[in-house]
């Protein structure tokens, strides 16, 4: 990925640079999303100002929050499964960081160029279920246990529509590689959101559920389960869960932008041009913010489903709809 920089690096140097860029690629969009949407947009939608004191319009609020969480005591509940409890946030975070690996930010700006990129991304995203379950089980709290079990049931149920909604795109592009999916969209002439609008809607609903954002936030439903599997966490470990939740929101939005909105490409601009490596990530970022806006807009507006209604929505509605979408896409692919 560093070829466009035209710098020669030793392997270990390149690894360090990649780690730094990876951290930036995860944390920067996360911070931007949390500040823009969770702090500001949500406040404005609720007729309030949001954070105003730290920095201009509260822009430094995140750093303050970060410092606050670092200072807090790292509490282990008595009789908690210490090892499981301690490891859970890292498992969730690892799945987040692995997601960013396959995301292309330009024709040659990527960490790895897996030929089964989207397949890999959707697979590692389910690793976070294990972390959530570990958190629920390890906390030795009934609320956490209920939350963990709900999260497991929900995340598994919504893996399917998520995968199936992507299949339509894969059929149209004829490849699993995310970079080639982007390029095939610019070959196709229009972004896949137009022919795959149904798939895009299913993808939106499914990632909303995968991120446990309202209206699908029953694993952390504060009015029922306090905060579900997060109930017993404090300090740094809570922060890690928090980062993982919103980083995954950012990355899922970016994957959505890659699949449906043409990734780093701009209409009428050569997508493989050298300069796309530099402006590509920003274009992708803007598209990501567009999708994340929808996620947070739903979050602000809707009340949450009940657990059984959520399962019914996934199994009886979204999955048949996604299968129908696949059939129609396949037919069109064969016919034209």
């Amino acid at each position: 990925m560093l070829t466009p920089l035209a710098l020669e690096f030793a392997y270990w140097q390149e690894t360090i640079v990649k780690i730094v860029i990876g951290l930036v690629a995860v944390l920067l969009p996360t911070g931007a999303l949390v500040y823009m949407f969770l702090f500001k947009m949500m406040s404005f939608m609720q007729s309030r100002l949001g954070p105003m004191e730290t920095g201009p319009h509260g822009a430094m609020q995140l750093l303050a929050e970060f410092g606050k969480f670092l200072q807090k005591e790292d509490i282990f509940p008595s009789k908690a499964d210490r090892w499981v409890f301690a490891a859970a946030p890292f498992v969730v975070l690892v799945s987040t960081f692995m997601l960013v690996l396959v995301l292309p930010g330009g024709p040659s700006a990527y960490f790895t160029d897996l030929s089964t990129g989207i397949y890999f991304a959707l697979a590692v995203s389910s690793v976070s279920v294990i972390g959530t379950l570990m958190a629920g089980w390890g906390s030795n709290s009934k609320y956490a246990l209920l939350g963990g079990l709900r999260a497991a049931g929900q995340l598994i149920a919504y893996e399917l529509p998520l995968v199936l909604s992507v299949v339509g795109v894969v059929i149209m592009a004829g490849t699993l590689n995310l970079r080639e999916i982007v390029l095939s969209q610019s070959d196709f002439g229009i972004w896949f959101i137009i022919p795959q609008f149904l798939g895009f809607l299913i993808y939106l609903i499914a990632i909303q559920a995968e991120l446990t954002q309202p209206p699908f936030d029953m694993p952390v439903a504060e009015s029922e389960l306090v905060t579900g599997y997060l109930t017993e966490y404090s300090g740094l470990r809570f922060l890690l869960f928090f980062i993982a939740e919103f980083a995954t929101a950012a990355i899922f939005s970016a994957i959505g932008a890659t699949l449906f909105l043409g990734g780093w490409t701009i209409p009428f601009v050569d997508p493989t041009a050298e300069f796309m490596n530099y402006i590509g990530p920003f274009v992708l970022g803007i598209k990501m913010i567009g999708i994340a806006f929808l996620i947070f807009w739903f979050r602000v507006t809707y009340p949450r489903f009940r657990e059984d209604q959520l399962q019914r929505l996934a199994w009886k509605f979204l999955i048949p709809l996604a299968l129908f979408n696949i059939v129609v896409t396949a037919v069109f692919k064969v016919v034209f």
Partner: protein, 403 residues
């Protein structure tokens, strides 16, 4: 504009739901026994509260769960018992009003009124008409302030965070008006035996009317944001169904009773010196008896109350605001019971006087306490998320339960 509002077209027949509730109860019992026989599973006891977001206060509900289904739920009250009935015995009559303000702390003006009416009945004084009209208007504004909180809170219990901010935002207009008339936002302490403390400040009526317009705008907003939302409806329709007969048996009152289709409102049904009979207004009921209907009834009541306030202020009679009462109030021997339709339901004070400066005994009948008594029946066989829905829709204020 409220005249056009009719029942939702798909309002379910009351009787069917009553039957459903019975059937559901029997089915859950059967399912429970079956599971226990087949799998030998043990129930899990979940302590909801005393510190829990769903109980907005210190209510504790001990729920026995089978998976996510509630087998048995028992509310345990009294974590915030403040002994008001005993405290009133060592306070003079004017001092009591400060205390009883704090029973239902969100609609506190309404708490004072029945006590004052009971004391006035014993002393055989009647406040002049202007005082009664102002009392009624402030009473209804207390109702609006109280129920607006519910309209937002119910949504937040179901996970929709935005509605509660709108509720607090628009409730502020009402609270500001209460404050600029009485001096207290939450605890007006405005009633005196024989009248009210002070007359209204100049310009107050106009400001209040514009605040009432804001209240109705808020109600429209809630209709769009919450009532119309399909998720909200699917969470509330058919959840926590109280059949009308059962509601009466458990002594429910207020919107919980009217939400079950019982047309009973003390403001209309009981003779009162307050000015409710002087203006025309409507009692809203809904036949379904589920959580949704309770929300719907309260929403309409808020609208109706805002219209009532406008009518009251339009026809406010001129005159004094205090009847002739001695400076040191001694209530003659006797007993009286006065109840009014408070925001949460019927609230009554049974005042026994032995002719002294302080009441001999005061029994306070609060609405939330009686409304809570149905929860063991209601929570049986529901899912954990429905606990939050049902508790929110019953709408209790902890101070009103535990006083």
């Amino acid at each position: 504009m409220t005249a056009e509002l009719t029942l939702p077209a798909d309002a379910l027949a009351n009787q069917d739901l009553a039957n459903n509730a019975q059937l559901r109860y029997i089915a859950s019992q059967a399912a429970d026994s079956r599971i226990n026989v087949e799998l030998e599973t043990e129930g899990m006891t979940l302590n909801i509260g005393p510190q829990h977001p769903a109980t907005h206060g210190t209510l504790r509900i001990v729920a026995k769960l089978d998976g996510e289904q509630v087998i048995e739920a028992q509310p345990i009250m009294g974590y915030m018992h403040r002994g008001y009935e005993k405290l009133t015995e060592v306070r003079t009559y004017p001092q009591v009003t400060t205390l009883i303000n704090r029973i239902d702390w969100v609609g506190s003006f309404a708490n004072e009124v029945p006590f004052i009416l009971a004391a006035e009945e014993l002393m055989d004084v009647e406040a002049p008409p202007r005082a009664q009209w102002i009392r009624t208007a402030l009473f209804e504004m207390g109702r609006i302030a109280n129920i607006m909180l519910f309209l937002g809170d119910m949504a937040v219990q179901l996970g929709g965070i935005t509605a509660v901010f709108y509720a607090f935002r628009d409730r502020e207009f009402v609270l500001n008006q209460i404050e600029s008339a009485t001096g207290g936002r939450f605890h007006p302490n405005f009633n005196r035996i024989g009248g009210i403390k002070d007359d209204l400040p100049a310009g107050w009526i106009e400001e209040t009317k514009s605040a009432m317009v804001k209240v109705r705008e808020f109600c429209d907003e809630m209709e769009d944001l919450v009532v119309g939302n399909e998720i909200f409806q699917s969470r509330c329709r058919g959840v926590g169904v109280i059949p009308a007969e059962l509601a009466k048996e458990y002594g429910l009152s207020g919107a919980n009773l009217r939400g079950s289709g019982v047309d009973w409102d003390l403001r209309r049904d009981e003779p009162s010196p307050l000015a409710w009979s002087e203006i025309d207004w409507k009692v809203w009921t809904h036949p379904d008896g589920d959580s949704f209907s309770r929300y719907w009834v309260r929403l309409q009541e808020t609208r109706e109350a805002s219209l009532m306030v406008e009518k009251l202020l339009d026809n406010l009679p001129a005159g004094p605001i205090m009847a002739k009462v001695p400076r040191i109030i001694k209530v003659p021997e006797g007993e009286s019971y006065v109840q009014t339709e408070n925001p949460l339901g019927a609230m009554g004070y049974y005042v026994v006087s032995k002719g002294e400066l302080t009441p001999f005994r005061v029994k306070i009948r609060t609405a939330s306490f009686s409304n809570m008594s149905i929860t063991p029946w209601l929570l049986e066989g529901v899912y954990v998320p429905d606990i939050a829905t049902i508790l929110a829709s019953l709408y209790f204020i902890l101070g009103d339960i535990d006083r």
